[in-house]
Amino acid sequence: MGATVQAQIATGAGPTLTSAETGIVLNRVDTQTGTTPIPIPTATGNKYSYLKYLALVVTGTSTTNITNRRISWATTPATGLQGLWFNQATYTQNTGTQGNSAGNYPADDTAANGTVPTGIAWAAMSTTPTLWDNTSVSTGSAARNGNYVQTCLQVSNAFAGGAGSATALPAITLTYDEA
């Protein structure tokens, strides 16, 4: 019998973990949704969203174990938009400050479209599910199972979708193995 597992998003100082399955927004506010947009660079370079911490959380326990936690885009995003992810063991609330310290979101840069920032070991999200945490963790506890996957959206000057808080992004897929 499988565990009941929910994709959740961590926000606030606690953090507070709430279901992400009703949707999230990649923006510049430390909440699940909201309308504080990411500016679009006017010259070659990139700007970034706040950090969005996603996790798999057991809400109904079982005798199984979960491994092979992976993340991907459901479809390829528009040119000039790139998803970033990082295997994050420790939650640190968004500071609202740019930089590489825990809780900071990446600083604006002048790199070409598609360049992954180097401050921490960010990886680019693709449509191929990519491992973020392969640790085998029992579903016997109603708790977060495995590490967070810290995500961020990069917006480059190559994005031609126009301004606004309702830019369409693909869905994010979290995949895991349970046995």
Binding site: V5, G23, L56, T64, A171, T175, Y176, A179
Partner: protein
């Protein structure tokens, strides 16, 4: 949440272990002596064998369910879920998908 198909393994000495045993309870795959399994099967809710895979000697049985949760990024739409079952042994993986289709593959990915 009980899956529609659950595993059952048979050891060479005739002993069995089932994921769901109405008299004993539930078992996780971690309880299986995977290197000793001779046969792995999927059974439906009334105990009928639906799929069986023989595990050659010197090989290790494999079983897991690959679950996916889709999170929408517009902040309003509810995402979706899917699940596929993988069973077999190191080198031959039989995938059973939710729509009933089956694929025999050489990798787990």
């Amino acid at each position: 949440m009980r899956d529609p198909l659950t595993w059952l393994v048979l050891y060479p000495d005739g002993a069995t272990l089932a994921e769901y045993d109405p008299e004993v309870g539930e078992h996780g795959w971690a309880e299986v002596r995977a290197a000793e399994v001779a046969l792995i099967a999927l059974q439906d809710e009334v105990g009928r064998m639906v799929v069986m895979v023989e595990v050659p000697a010197e090989h290790t049985a494999v079983f897991f369910r690959r679950r996916s949760i889709t999170i929408t990024t517009d902040g309003t739409e509810v995402g979706s879920r899917s699940s596929a079952t993988c069973m077999g042994w190191d080198g031959a993986f039989l995938w059973i998908y939710a729509d009933g289709s089956i694929a025999l593959r050489t990798t787990k990915d």
